[in-house]
């Protein structure tokens, strides 16, 4: 694309656009700065001046408190989140493309019925209560590790459709035919030809799935009551619940609110800890992330 800026009208236009984008970017980032700066502010300064965009009095006490006093809890939650994310994403990458590949093959006999089975889950679902009852009463996953792994997150019909259409477009039938003439079995073709050629979409959708697992708290809220199994997001969720209790007390008299506040900064530090790994990794996976969003937005 060879574009150039032509004329003053265009120049003004560019300036306006840049200003708009600048403002939007600042708006997107400022809340994160509030979060980080508050987590590095000393308690007494927070109590006097509230959360701010610049630490009025620098202190890393909140982090020290979390990583020294509550080390076990934090590391446990981290470990659970990391394990769930890794296992969940691996299972997704193992199962989802394997279901999508036969459906992408025009010469596959049972393509129609299985495609319909996948598609139908997008049209109708049993609803949250029914799913909850099935998972807890039939499969008994309440308060087990599997509760973080299996319900709803592992693979969705939409992902299958994305994999399927990508494979249908990128893998030419003649390629498969040639491999078969050379004596390759179906599974061998899948592993050695289809998967390597699908790497970009595997990366994009695998990443989306991984972020989904990392950020998930809903399964935990429904299926986990045992704090030993709390993932990072669930720990954050339960601390948010304590704020709730706190603010309810605060409604009757503000003095109790102030007295209980040593946790003001710690909560913000907790939130930072919960997002930090993703933020650090973001520049590296940004491209795949954008690809994942674009794929999800426009079919085909």
């Amino acid at each position: 694309m060879d574009r150039s800026i032509k004329g003053t009208g265009e120049k003004i236009f560019q300036v306006v656009i840049c200003v708009i984008l600048f403002i939007l970017s600042v708006c997107a980032v400022m809340p994160f700065i509030l979060l980080i700066s508050s987590s590095f502010t000393a308690e007494d300064a927070l109590l006097r001046y509230g959360y701010g965009f610049w630490p009025s009095k620098f202190s890393a006490y909140a982090y020290k408190y979390l990583f020294v006093t509550n080390r076990d809890k934090i590391f446990r939650a981290y470990a659970i989140t990391i394990i769930v994310t890794i296992i969940g994403t691996s299972l997704h990458l193992l199962v989802a493309p394997m279901l999508a590949y036969p459906l992408s093959r025009k010469d596959y006999k049972r393509r129609g019925i299985f495609s319909f089975m996948v598609l139908f889950t997008m049209l109708f679902n049993g609803g949250m209560v029914s799913a909850y009852i099935i998972w807890t009463q039939v499969f008994h996953i309440k308060n087990t590790f599997f509760a973080l792994l299996f319900p709803s997150l592992l693979l969705g019909a939409f992902n299958i459709i994305l994999y399927r259409s990508s494979m249908a477009v990128n893998i030419h039938p003649s390629l498969i035919e040639a491999a078969r003439l050379d004596g390759a079995g179906e599974f061998y073709i899948y592993v050695k030809i289809v998967l390597p050629l699908s790497l970009p979409i595997l990366a994009a959708l695998g990443l989306m799935c991984g972020i989904g697992y990392w950020n998930d708290w809903m399964n935990g809220m429904y299926y986990i009551t045992d704090s030993k199994l709390y993932s990072l997001q669930l720990l954050l969720n339960s601390i948010l619940n304590n704020i709730k209790a706190l603010s309810q007390i605060a409604d009757s008299s503000t003095s109790i609110d102030v007295k209980d506040m040593p946790s003001t900064g710690i909560r913000m530090a907790m939130a930072v800890i919960g997002t930090l790994p993703i933020m650090i990794l973001y520049p590296f996976f940004q491209k795949a992330f954008v690809a994942g969003i674009t794929l999800g937005g426009v079919k085909e």
């Binding site: 980032v29 959360y51 029914s130 693979l155 950020n215 603010s247 997002t275 933020m279 992330f289």
Partner: protein
């Protein structure tokens, strides 16, 4: 052509099935369950379960178990078809029957396993013994044996086996809840289980709609969604156009990266951030912006439609703008060049080229989001509002209501009715929306 050896696939499978059937008959003589009563111990074999047995000198009678009858019949069936296979007649049909026999065998053993307490009614301690698992193993082996022959006969291909794990997950995660939706018409009693609970007609729905909350909840769900769909089109398109039109690639890349940042984090973190702004005693708005104001944000309803809208736009803007951007980038650049030569300014290009060219995408996205108008972002309405009771009338959407009724109030009848209402409405909306898309543009319809 293949040379005909004595060990053709049919014969191999037939021999294997025959051997398995014999093993099956032997397994049935093994203890399937045991029964303790008054410190005496009775072991029951598979045949005992099928035929019924008088134990404790006839004072206790174990009735014949129909499931074991069926399971035994399955093994007999597989013997018959194994012989047919050995005669090299109707291989596909017999393989199919052996497959079914194996599957039914497993299902029957599982049913016996689950209901063993009811079968041995009155026993002190009931337990299952290895024989029952042996029965399941025989069933599984029969299935494998049948699959072998079906694969050899090219009825099944490797591709069929590849879809199994994924479809199994979909059946468990999506199809079983579809069957389970019946609980909305049932009076659920956990002591007898989901399937045997009594039906109660439309009672649960009557309760839900009589409670008076239903109207408010549905209004909230639809109103927020409708407003946000429209708002999302305008903001997403505007930002998408800005990103597409900006000349500097660095500005484009950096701003796109930054605007996407909120999309990465979970709603729990968003709730913390919002708390950082709105906390009564320490929030930035009260302390920093307004200087020691004491507005109790989490207690006043009238602010929340605005706050939720701001948070929603903040989190979703990057996502929607990138979707529109990818559409705009796909527009033919020559159109712009030609319009420039004809003397069009930028604004005119946007209104006369970009927007009209994007219309199909916009309409598709609009219609698709209308299909999900009954669903809401649970995290936004539950976490960000901190589930504050004072805000319920403006923040309760269907998803929030279902969660609250199920997990906090333990009101199974109301929550199941609301949840079933949501998914049935959702189904009809999606079908309608898809039909409309088909009329407008065949290409973009889902099916």
């Amino acid at each position: 052509m293949e040379k005909k050896s004595f060990f053709s696939p049919e014969r191999r499978a037939g021999i294997a099935a025959l051997v398995l059937a014999v093993i099956g008959f032997v397994v049935y003589a093994l203890p399937f369950a045991h029964y303790r009563y008054n410190s005496s111990y009775y072991s029951l074999s598979g045949y005992d379960l099928a035929a019924g047995k008088a134990i404790m000198n006839g004072s206790v009678q174990v009735n014949p178990v129909i499931y074991q009858w069926v399971a035994l019949a399955c093994i007999c069936v597989s013997v018959v078809f194994a012989v047919i296979m050995l005669l090299q007649k109707m291989p596909k049909l017999s393989a199919l029957f052996i497959f079914i026999a194996g599957a039914v065998q497993i299902i029957m053993q599982v049913i016996t396993l689950v209901t063993i307490k009811d079968i041995l009614d009155g026993a002190k301690r009931v337990a299952v013994e290895p024989g029952m698992y042996g029965g399941m193993a025989v069933g599984l082996a029969l299935i494998v044996c049948a699959c072998y022959l079906l694969t050899k006969k090219e009825v099944l291909s490797t591709l069929d086996f590849m879809v199994i794990p994924g479809l199994t997950y979909l059946i468990i995660n999506n199809y079983l809840p579809m069957v389970g939706i019946q609980i909305a018409w049932k009076k659920l009693d956990f002591s007898v289980g989901i399937w045997r609970s009594p039906w109660c007609g439309w009672e649960n729905f009557k309760f839900l709609f009589a409670s008076g909350d239903a109207g408010m909840i549905i209004r909230n769900t639809i109103a927020y969604n409708a407003f946000w769909i429209v708002l999302g089109i305008f903001t997403g398109m505007a930002v998408g156009i800005c990103l597409a039109e900006v000349f500097s690639k660095i500005v484009q890349r950096v701003s796109q990266t930054l605007i996407l940042l909120p999309q990465l984090i979970s709603m729990v973190i968003v709730a913390y951030i919002v708390y950082g702004f709105l906390s009564t005693s320490a929030g930035w708005i009260n302390k920093g912006l307004l200087g020691n104001a004491e507005i109790n944000w989490y207690g006043v309803k009238k602010y929340w439609p605005f706050i939720l809208t701001i948070v929603h736009v903040w989190k979703g803007l990057g996502y929607s703008s990138i979707i529109y951007l990818s559409g705009i980038v796909g527009i033919d650049r020559n159109l712009y060049e030609a319009s420039y030569i004809d003397g069009c300014g930028k604004m005119k290009q946007i209104t006369k080229i970009t927007v009209p060219m994007m219309k199909p995408t916009i309409v598709t996205l609009l219609i698709m989001s209308c299909g999900r108008i009954m669903y809401s972002d649970f995290g936004l309405f539950y976490q960000v509002t901190m589930n504050s009771g004072a805000l319920y009338t403006v923040t309760t959407t269907l998803d929030v209501y279902v969660y609250r009724a199920l997990m906090q109030l333990n009101n199974l009848s109301m929550s199941s009715a609301a949840s079933a209402f949501q998914s049935i409405c959702g189904f009809f909306l999606v079908m309608t929306v898809n039909q409309i898309t088909r009329w407008l543009d065949r290409e973009n319809a889902m099916f």
